[in-house]
């Protein structure tokens, strides 16, 4: 029998802990520190107390950005929670050729968000495919301002996000559906339950934990939306910058030689706190339902 030294576990866990400390813990700690300074990328920076946090309160763009991020989350959350489940129910059946549809629905997931947003930008442009079709079919006289109207741009980005995310969440639901016991469906059918009632009373409770996980994932990623809005608005945040998301604001303030790291860090921490909200709420709802 060999003698176990006290430091053996630390030695084994050491590299992973070091990695976590340098690439996760330290950046988080540094963000908190920087948020109380006026630091710039080239060093320097003095302690400025709560000045950056005070600035959050009278930043008009932040109010717009918060509203955009919240609307983005509130619309994406139900769509990306329910639609992929319905899609998964459709493609879970073992019928000839279904693999093609599964692959087709998953294809947008593997495409780069930037490339997809560029393509959507061309499609939704004033002189793009959609406007061309709408005008040629006589449905509209002039181009619809998908990319130059504040709300239409936001909803275009939401549509893109939903389209791109459907396949990803569909695959997660497929694995959850496979774990719902077949006997429960059979028993419900024998008892005369309609397909809708079986869905409501058997399928939904069976996939509820997955649904909660998906809801948390969606709310976090929706609040952190960046690429879709950035590319569709050519980095300008829509007309007058009114389509900026909070992450776009962070990017705007932090980049370049003169990046305002202090304020960008305060914005990051604010977003972190806001992101915790829906996460905790959904987890609480899940516990209650369970």
């Amino acid at each position: 029998m060999t003698h176990r030294r006290w430091f053996t576990p630390w030695l084994l866990a050491g590299p992973a802990l070091l990695w976590l400390a340098v690439f996760n813990l330290w950046p988080a700690v540094n963000t908190v520190i920087l948020s109380f300074t006026n630091a710039k990328p080239l060093g320097g920076g003095q302690f400025t107390g709560l000045e950056n946090y005070g600035r959050l309160l009278d930043d008009e763009q932040l109010a717009d950005a918060l509203l955009n991020s919240i609307v983005f989350m509130l619309v994406c959350l139900p769509l990306l929670t329910v639609l992929p489940l319905l899609l998964a129910l459709l493609v879970q059946r073992k019928i000839p050729g279904i693999t093609f549809f599964r692959t087709a629905f998953y294809t947008p997931v593997i495409a780069s968000a930037v490339v997809v947003a560029l393509i959507w930008g061309w499609v939704l442009d004033d002189r793009g495919l959609v406007n061309g079709m709408l005008q040629q079919s006589g449905l509209t006289d002039s181009p619809v301002s998908f990319l130059t109207d504040r709300w239409l741009l936001l909803f275009s980005a939401i549509a893109l996000t939903v389209w791109k995310g459907l396949g990803y969440y569909m695959v997660i639901y497929l694995s959850a559906l496979a774990n719902v016991p077949r006997e429960l469906h059979e028993a419900a059918a024998v008892d005369g339950a309609s397909p809708l009632r079986r869905f409501w009373h058997v399928t939904l409770p069976g996939v509820r934990p997955t649904m909660m996980l998906i809801s948390v994932l969606i709310s976090v990623s929706a609040l952190r939306v960046f690429s879709e809005l950035y590319v569709l608005s050519h980095g300008q945040g829509g007309p007058g910058g009114r389509d900026m998301s909070v992450v776009m604001l962070i990017q705007m303030y932090s980049r370049g030689f003169n990046g305002h790291l202090g304020y960008a860090s305060a914005l990051s921490l604010m977003l972190f706190v806001i992101t915790l909200g829906p996460m905790l709420l959904l987890m609480r709802l899940n516990r209650k339902a369970a």
Binding site: W6, W10, L17, A21, L25, W26, V29, N30, I33, L34, T37, N38, A39, K40, P41, L42, G43, G44, G45, R55, E60, D125, D126, R127, P143, S145, L147, T148, L153, S233, H234, G235, Q236, G237, G238, P239, G240, G241, M252, Y253, R255, G256, F257, N258, G259, H260, G262, Y263
Partner: protein, 429 residues
């Protein structure tokens, strides 16, 4: 428990040490000693130079320049790094933050400014007193900053903007390519004709105004001490009002609200807009993307004062070989080497000795040759219009507020006041 405390203490100490890195200040060597070493030292040893997106198009040219330098100074070794066009500012920023800038770095004036402010760049005029005599004043001035003593780069190649017109679109829509607009009012009047004749399918105007347009309307962009922005004047508001009315009338495409400059050139390339601005070589580069459009283009000087675009070579104070770094920067920017470079592409040399080269002042009769001459003539009155203090965040804010004014969502005065207020906050922050 003791072990846990030990681990936590180690983490905290590491964090504290790293905090020092995050908020530390740059290395500031004594400028005089480095300049003196540069002026009197022997040119030998290793020296590195970093250029911006010259490979692969100009690899042979640059290698020839380096070979010439090595021939002039036997025993010297040159390490040439070329960085891609995208993300260059981030690259330079990370090099500067890590103290790893090469001995000679291609930095435009707005990249050099924050480094000079941090005392990271050598005052090359101190190391090379002949600088101001040999390079054009506009180029040298571009590397002198309010509040900073010194000249922080050798001007390298210059460029400016030229107006480009799609003569076929003009003719087909009732406009005369020989009577091009000379003022904003002319432009709006001709844009109206184009809209009416084309049924709103093509545009003459397809970009929103920027700081350059405000400057040309007589607006002072920044205070003399460089400490505050001042472009929220009634003249600036009047200019934006004109654009707002033109936009409302449908003389500009809706894209102007969200597009950057690239959007304007894309519309021009696609034959949807009849006017754009670009450097002296725009026709040559367009010939690849749209060969049928290139022959239909004509050029004219920009309305008002043309903008001056400068590229230059700076030397970090941390260079270990100041003598070789200064000699290399001077060699690359010498009249002969600049002339050779300018003959390869339509940029213009920054040395006074190159001004009389007939290559720049005489056209070969082609429209690209004409554009080159227009650009060369414009350089004589070109000015660095956008203050170097304007950073990415400020540019975005100014663009956004101008878009708000043009769309009518805010009055021109409100938008300008907001832009100035936000930019001043950033300037002070």
């Amino acid at each position: 428990m003791r072990r846990i405390w030990a681990a936590l203490t180690t983490t905290a100490l590491t964090a504290a040490a790293l905090t020092g890195c995050g908020l530390g200040s740059g290395d500031s060597k004594n400028s005089d000693s480095v300049a003196s070493a540069a002026a009197t030292g022997e040119v030998k040893g290793k020296v590195s130079i970093q250029t911006w997106a010259l490979k692969p198009k100009f690899t042979d040219y640059m290698q020839g320049v380096i070979d010439g330098f090595k021939k002039k100074y036997p025993g010297v070794e040159v390490d040439w790094l070329d960085q891609p066009g995208e993300g260059y500012s981030d690259k330079v920023l990370s090099q500067a933050a890590a103290g790893g800038l090469p001995d000679v770095v291609n930095l435009p004036p707005d990249f050099a400014f924050p480094l000079a402010k941090k005392d990271l760049l050598l005052d090359v005029a101190k190391a090379d007193p002949k600088l101001a005599d040999e390079y054009v004043a506009g180029g040298v001035e571009a590397y002198r900053y309010t509040g900073q003593n010194g000249t922080f780069g050798y001007p390298w190649y210059l460029n400016t903007d030229v107006n480009y017109w799609n003569s076929e679109l003009l003719t087909n829509n009732g406009l005369d390519p020989k009577k091009l607009p000379a003022s904003l009012d002319d432009l709006i009047a001709q844009a109206r004709v184009m809209k009416e004749k084309s049924g709103g399918q093509t545009y003459l105007m397809s970009r929103k105004p920027g700081l350059g347009d405000l400057y040309n309307a007589g607006v002072k962009i920044m205070s003399d001490d460089g400490k505050s922005f001042t472009f929220n004047t009634p003249e600036a508001a009047a200019l934006l009002d004109k654009y707002r009315d033109a936009f409302k009338e449908g003389l500009l495409p809706k894209d102007v609200l969200t597009n950057t400059y690239v959007g304007n050139s894309k519309l021009f390339n696609a034959g949807t807009a009849a006017w754009t601005t670009g450097g002296g070589n725009f026709i040559t580069s367009l010939a690849t993307d749209n060969p049928t459009l290139a022959p239909k283009m004509t050029s004219s000087p920009t309305m008002g004062v043309p903008p001056l675009y400068v590229q230059g070579l700076s030397i970090p104070k941390t260079t270990k070989n100041p003598a070789a770094a200064v000699a290399l920067a001077r060699w690359v920017t010498s009249p002969e080497n600049q002339a050779a470079f300018s003959h390869l592409t339509s940029v213009f040399p920054s040395t006074k000795a190159s001004a009389n080269d007939p290559f720049f002042s005489k056209s070969d009769g082609s429209n690209s040759g004409d554009a080159k001459v227009v650009a060369f003539d414009s350089l004589a009155k070109a000015k660095l219009i956008q203050p170097v203090q304007v950073d990415d965040a400020m540019s975005t804010i100014i663009n956004q507020q101008i878009a708000l004014a043009i769309s009518g969502d805010a009055s021109s005065k409100q938008a300008l006041d907001s832009a100035v207020e936000q930019c001043n906050k950033l300037l002070k922050g």
